[in-house]
């Protein structure tokens, strides 16, 4: 696997975890997820629309998140917000456990 492919695949898996983490804190709309992920990761993850929305569609189809429309004050057009469901919260906890377990194991190997 080429270096670039490895990075892409690695990132794709972890982004789901990052997005769910944000949604456990508060509801978000698409653009705010992009900004938050990029700011918090110091732009190392460089999340783009073409990556974000397919992940959101997948999560929504699996009922891990759900969307709703809301019109903000002073803004004519409604925005689509995403919120995490109860199934999603469970999924997030499980994913986080797996992530810690795997990264812990890999760190042990690398640091030995």
């Amino acid at each position: 696997m080429k270096q670039e492919n490895f990075k892409k695949q690695f990132k794709k898996g972890l982004l789901e975890l990052g997005i769910l983490k944000l949604l456990t804190e508060s509801d978000h709309y698409g653009y705010s997820i992009i900004k938050e992920i990029n700011t918090r990761s110091n732009n190392t993850l460089d999340l783009r629309d073409g990556t974000l929305y397919p992940i959101l569609y997948r999560l929504e189809d699996q009922k891990i998140i759900e969307s709703y429309w809301e019109t903000q004050d002073g803004r004519g057009k409604p925005r689509k917000y995403y919120k995490i469901t109860e199934i999603g919260k469970e999924r997030y906890v499980n994913m986080l456990e797996d992530f810690n377990l795997v990264t812990g194991g890999i760190n042990s190997i690398i640091n030995q």
């Binding site: 794709k12 709309y29 783009r48 629309d49 073409g50 929305y53 397919p54 057009k77 689509k80």
Partner: protein, 184 residues
């Protein structure tokens, strides 16, 4: 190239080959995303902030689950394809090949058109319209197909001035297992 919201969305969607429902979803979400960008920054530049439309489309295609588990494997491998020759005649490409892949139907328009739906001087497709037309359903001056309609028609069911087929319905002359000639 400078884009406005509509032309940008159109360009992105042109490169995304998936079902209509997902395309609609993407159009809606990217539309709101662009509105948000302009709201926060009046000088919001679509290409700088979001990338060239072709790259955005590529990114979507890479991340969308475009494999349909309910379809047989061979059908899943049918990917969308488009080729348009640089040479044009009367504004039409000399050759246009356009297929929507496993789930979508695309229209090919050219002097030689090959596609799910083909319209051209010479057309080959699932449904084809042309001077010379070959297809599942072929309509043209000279047509050959499962169902062929034309001045000269040949096929399973052929309807024309001159028709040849298993079932031939003709105005002037017909050849077939079942042949019906209107004016003898």
């Amino acid at each position: 190239m400078k884009y406005d919201k509509e032309s940008y969305l159109k360009e992105v969607l042109k490169g995304i080959h998936t079902d209509r429902k997902t395309k609609k979803r993407i159009k809606e979400d990217l539309g709101i995303r662009i509105d948000d960008g302009y709201k926060e920054d009046p000088f919001f530049d679509l290409v700088i902030e979001m990338g060239e439309p072709s790259l955005v489309a590529e990114d979507f295609m890479e991340n969308l689950d475009v494999i349909y588990p309910d379809l047989p494997f061979v059908i899943q491998q049918m990917v969308p394809y488009e080729y348009r020759s640089k040479a044009n005649i009367f504004g039409l490409p000399l050759v246009h090949i356009h297929t929507g892949g496993a789930k979508n139907s695309s229209v090919a328009k050219g002097v030689l058109a090959i596609g799910d739906i083909a319209i051209g001087l010479v057309s080959i497709g699932g449904v084809s319209f042309g001077l010379i037309s070959i297809g599942g359903v072929a309509i043209g001056a000279a047509s050959l197909g499962g169902v062929a309609i034309g001045a000269f028609a040949g096929g399973g069911v052929a309807i024309g001035l001159y028709a040849a087929g298993a079932v031939a319905i003709s105005l002037l002359k017909g050849i077939g297992a079942v042949s019906l000639v209107m004016f003898k």
